[in-house]
Assembly symmetry: C2
Homo-oligomer: 338 residues x 2
């Protein structure tokens, strides 16, 4: 049984998309799971009412597993990340506190990512040895999916932080992606250990000396392929600047290419998109903020109800698998081995 | 009239592809242009013979505008970049010396990029104020093409170097892409000036204070679109690590997506590729090594004869437009204004 605290006020289409996503999720989930919608009570009530008298009328039986938790304040997308610290009644702060205090097993938001990160660190805390959490994002590839991290939380990283990302990604690959002995690649600009910038070269040495299943450097084209000359990999380690650039590049490039191709072959881009569901981000739901003591799932600001539903699934998998506890244990084991 | 020194021994398909590309280029170029094939005389002779008795028989009339220049040594793809310094009889060193000494107007190679860069700097020299040259690569976008630089020559860059790249890219956009008052974007992870890593944030300040037509930060998805909220741009500035990662990511992702889409709609991937020629790298030919005193064009190692032909066109445009002289003047003007 998992209880998910869902930020009903977060995202471009709040509260409609979170409310719709919650209903879609409950309809598919085993009956013991619960969702708590955190937000302005009247607004959330109205959105639930609108959903159940509109498109989601068939989902009315699941209303009983939906709890509304009042949070009178809202963090806007444009607010500074630190704003959340001064606003304890915001849906983000209220939801994270519920999780920290044991009233929910995970928190999920499609709202202001910077604020969610800051509040998650403050309210949930970080595992020993970490300076900041990392965002792990799923990339569809020609082979299987890979998790790329950090994809935006840490812009300037030390070699040691890149090694932390490898450990965080490893547990993510095991617990969320179901991989055994996940293989780790280090994003660089050539496969040789001496290729890369100063931080990457130093990180390569540390990873090669670690007990991790390290396949060495992987290049941009390997990330698209999901494999390199030394075999497939599950985790791609990079600093949050590079990770965020390629994530957004992917997000922009895939639909652009699909549109161009559809036009050139005279097909309907929307239909073509549907045939390529495995390339659609919203299928992969939310990205866990890795390294915090608990489960804080970041959903894309433009999340549809379906994307929220998928993010709820990620939240449940993270909570039930014990992702955060596994990360804590692995970091502690690595620290005591060093 | 331009005389292009073409490394006949460089690239995965040498000497066949350079020889084929030279013939294809001459067939299209105005009759005053000349190509010098630099390489092991016997091997190059044999490749020319094979081409003219085989697939390129129809191009025999252009043989007269092809000169073979003997260079008994070859730099292999796997050689260390510095190897070229100790091998003055390699096709790369011989070709670059011909250009430096005024016997050719440009040099072009699909061989070892690191070696070409090192030898270009040593033999041609750099414009005042530069520490290293930059590679400018054309990216097809949803709008027009953009030039991304540096795409691999400089892995750790200072903010000042990123500003140099902006000036180099600006001249490239004017001279090679034919743009007027080119707009410059700085690759980052958010449009706000305070987004990015330490180097990018500092570079943003410098670019904002410069007289360049700076549109501000652009994100990964803007690069795919060729435009951002503040309008379209022509030049994307980034360090060579990030630039190389996204270049290779693009190179890997585009064919992968096309294959996946072709499979999903039951089309032939090869035919679909042909319909999308504007996404095909080989159409954009070579990437000039920007900042050297002269024209040194880097072609992809896997260049086909058609890709070499397109790279010859870039070399001619660079030589005839006075790209290198314009870069020298612009850097000098910026230095004296500072």
């Amino acid at each position: 049984m998992a209880r998910i605290a869902l930020d009903a006020m977060g995202g471009d289409y709040a509260p409609t998309a979170p409310v719709g996503g919650a209903l879609l999720a409950l309809a598919e989930l085993a009956p013991e799971h619960r969702i708590q919608l955190i937000g302005r009570e009247a607004d959330v009530e109205a959105a639930v009412e609108a959903a159940l008298t509109g498109d989601y009328a068939a989902l009315a039986p699941h209303r009983a597993r939906l709890e509304i938790v009042d949070a009178p304040d809202v963090i806007a997308m444009a607010d500074k990340p630190t704003a959340v610290m001064r606003r304890p009644l915001s849906s983000m702060a209220v939801g994270l506190r519920r999780h920290a205090e044991g009233h929910a097993d995970a928190f999920l938001s499609a709202g202001n990512t910077g604020a969610q990160m800051a509040a998650s660190v403050q309210i949930l805390g970080l595992h020993e040895g970490l300076r900041r959490p990392a965002i792990g994002t799923i990339f569809p590839t020609a082979q299987q999916t890979v998790v790329v991290l950090d994809s935006g939380a840490n812009v300037d990283c030390s070699p040691e932080e890149l090694v932390h990302f490898a450990r965080l990604g490893l547990v993510y690959a095991e617990d969320i992606m179901g991989r055994t002995n996940p293989a780790i690649g280090l994003l660089s600009i050539g496969e040789e250990p001496e290729k890369g910038n100063a931080v990457v070269k130093a990180a390569h040495q540390l990873l090669a000396q670690s007990r991790l299943h390290f396949v060495g450097n992987v290049e941009g084209r390997d990330v698209a392929a999901g494999t390199c000359d030394r075999g497939p990999f599950d985790v791609v380690v990079c600093d949050g600047f590079t990770g965020n650039v390629i994530l957004k590049f992917y997000e922009g490039l895939a639909p652009m290419l699909i549109r161009m191709i559809a036009t050139s072959v005279g097909a309907d881009p929307k239909e073509m998109m549907q045939g390529l569901a495995h390339l659609d981000y919203s299928n992969y739901g939310g990205a866990p903020l890795l390294g915090v003591r608990g489960v804080s799932i970041i959903a894309h600001g433009s999340s549809s109800p379906r994307a929220i539903k998928n993010a709820v699934n990620v939240a449940i998998r993270a909570a039930e698998s014990g992702l955060s506890e596994h990360i804590g244990r692995r970091l502690a084991a690595a620290a005591s081995a060093a």
